[in-house]
């Protein structure tokens, strides 16, 4: 921008561009500096930290190395083991499965709500928002009760010889998936509902009139119209699901660790910031890749 600071009428008042810009900066700075100080700069410093070495007491030694990334790739003094790569891959798969199942369950749900009478539609929608707003700690540990031994679900599993009788269904990968799907379902269902609500039904009717099969009606008349809601839902589910800590912690235990748990260990108990930073950056890159893909596939990202 050219800096010609001559008085002119800006926004209905006599002012100069410099004055206006100063006033704008004054409004932006508090919030912007807050975000930069507590997130942007520390996040950037994670990049530097990921190349440093952990000292004997968990401090950072400024010896630059690629060791943390090598360790993430599985190389150690004892040869190569894919443990960390497995955790990364498992997190991607967990995110994908959660997102896909949530999408599959959300379509009937969204259509169900939008075809209710005006008077009850509001209630059904509220019924979807309540679990969405309930704290995740409560919603997650609650599955520990539902999946406890001697309750119907565990009994059924024992009857089918899936688990020995009298044993709980958690910690297990099954429990983690149940927890993840129930946690993220509203994240897909709510944006999808807002798309379904605006659906142009005449296109669906036209497709039916032209003897489209069920799948084609969905694929060519419904899917393109609901894509904006779907892509928002997919972003809101896949990204947090991949890095989730709480659900595998409470329902998976040591049996089903995801990358979120690995990062938590490094910044918590193990106090290995350099390795934690390296894993964080791996997760951040996966997140950005997912965002680029999902944004290209769907509409422009609208967070809200």
């Amino acid at each position: 921008m050219k800096i010609i600071d001559k008085p002119e009428i800006l926004y209905g008042e006599l002012s100069t561009p410099r004055k206006i810009r100063t006033r704008g900066l004054l409004r932006i700075s508090p919030g912007m500096l807050w975000i930069m100080l507590f997130l942007s700069i520390p996040a950037l410093s994670l990049i530097v930290i990921s190349f440093t070495t952990r000292g004997a007491y968990g401090e950072i030694e400024w010896v630059f190395t690629l060791e943390n990334y090598k360790r993430l790739a599985g190389y150690s003094l004892f040869g190569w083991s894919p443990d960390y790569l497995k955790i990364l891959l498992r997190s991607i798969i967990a995110g994908l499965i959660t997102t896909v199942v949530c999408i599959i369950l959300s379509y009937p749900l969204a259509f169900f709500i939008s075809t209710r009478d005006k008077s009850t539609r509001y209630l059904w929608l509220t019924a979807l928002i309540i679990p969405f707003w309930t704290n995740l700690v409560i919603r997650t540990y609650a599955w520990q009760i539902v999946l406890a031994p001697d309750l119907p679900i565990a009994k059924l599993a024992a009857l089918l010889h899936l688990v020995p009788p009298g044993s709980p269904l958690y910690p297990s990968s099954f429990a983690v998936y149940i927890g993840m799907i129930s946690a993220f379902l509203p994240f897909v269902a709510l944006p999808l509902y807002s798309s379904v609500e605006k659906l142009d039904w005449s296109l669906v009717e036209a497709a039916n009139d032209l003897y489209c099969g069920k799948w084609r009606v969905f694929h060519q008349a419904i899917l393109p119209q609901t894509l904006p809601g779907l892509s928002v839902g997919a972003i809101l589910t896949f990204v947090p699901a991949m890095g989730i800590f709480l659900i595998p912690d409470l329902l998976g235990g040591a049996k089903y660790m995801l990358v979120g748990n690995l990062i938590q260990q490094q910044f918590g108990k193990s106090r290995d910031w350099p390795f934690g930073a390296a894993v964080s950056l791996a997760l951040m890159s996966l997140t950005l890749i997912a965002l680029v893909i999902l944004n290209r596939r769907g509409a422009k990202m609208q967070v809200l």
């Binding site: 926004y11 930069m36 309750l151 379902l185 938590q264």
Partner: protein, 264 residues
């Protein structure tokens, strides 16, 4: 009107059941007399009475409320001014991109990475001042950091829904800057500010990870308390506490819908 296939109807109802089963289980077992496991020992309200006499629970409730309210107030003020600065001033494309990256960073960063970054930030800042010791202050700072972005995004989209000719008209009629803000801009922004604040409040109440990483020994919040107790072994007292939490959530949902329907 389009008729929904009965199979889809059943599937939708089953999905609702799936979402509510854990919540109902918590509520039912909060009335269980027997202390251990899922053995049903008869109905009892004992656990609710015990909650009222538990100092730790009371303290956690107060901490949760203080954290949520203070961080929401700070984030709403900062976020609203930030949105005004972004939407109403002629920033060049490069500068705007820089602002946007910072604004979207709290939204897209995975929570666990966010928490790690905060741990790094607070550890460094602790060498400057002791207010960055883990506690309520660091928790409020952490919560505001993600809330402010959400508030700013909501208010900005509200500001984008009307153009600044209204403000110019106000200025043309010799209204002062303050008068224009107070009587023209603020009422127009209000629905955005209110929904931004509601969003910030729920984000704070819903948060676990950021609190988990920034809390000190005296600043335990309800989610942290429940998490700790769950690791020690679940008792009906936790179910009772969670049941109260669920009902508070229901009240908040209804309240926020009242507010947003009034706005429309």
């Amino acid at each position: 009107m389009f008729k929904l296939n009965i199979h889809y109807k059943i599937l939708a109802i089953a999905t609702y059941l799936f979402l509510y089963t854990p919540l109902l289980a918590v509520m039912v077992y909060s009335f269980n007399k027997s202390r251990f496991g899922i053995h049903w020992g008869g109905l009892s309200l004992d656990w609710y009475v015990k909650l009222l006499h538990d100092d730790l629970v009371i303290e956690a409730c107060i901490n949760t409320a203080v954290l949520a309210v203070l961080s929401t107030i700070i984030a709403t003020i900062l976020g609203t001014t930030l949105a005004m600065g972004l939407a109403r001033y002629p920033w060049s494309k490069k500068v705007m991109t820089f602002f946007d990256i910072n604004l979207y960073l709290p939204v897209v960063t995975p929570e666990i990475v966010f928490a790690g970054a905060l741990v790094v930030a607070f550890t460094c800042l602790r060498s400057i001042s002791s207010i960055f010791e883990p506690g309520l202050v660091t928790m409020i700072i952490g919560h505001v950091t993600f809330q402010v972005a959400f508030v700013a995004l909501v208010v900005r989209s509200r500001l984008a829904s009307f153009n600044n000719e209204i403000e110019e008209a106000s200025r043309d009629l010799y209204a002062s800057n303050w008068y224009t803000f107070r009587h023209v801009l603020l009422p127009l922004m209000m629905p955005g500010i209110v929904s931004g604040a509601m969003l910030a409040l729920t984000l704070s109440l819903d948060d676990f990870i950021i609190s988990f990483f920034t809390a000190g020994p005296t600043s335990v919040t309800l989610p942290l308390y429940i998490y700790g107790e769950v690791h020690r072994g679940i008792t009906p007292k936790i179910h009772a506490l969670s049941t109260v939490g669920i009902f508070v959530t229901i009240a908040l949902v209804i309240l926020s819908q009242r507010i947003s329907s009034k706005d429309n």
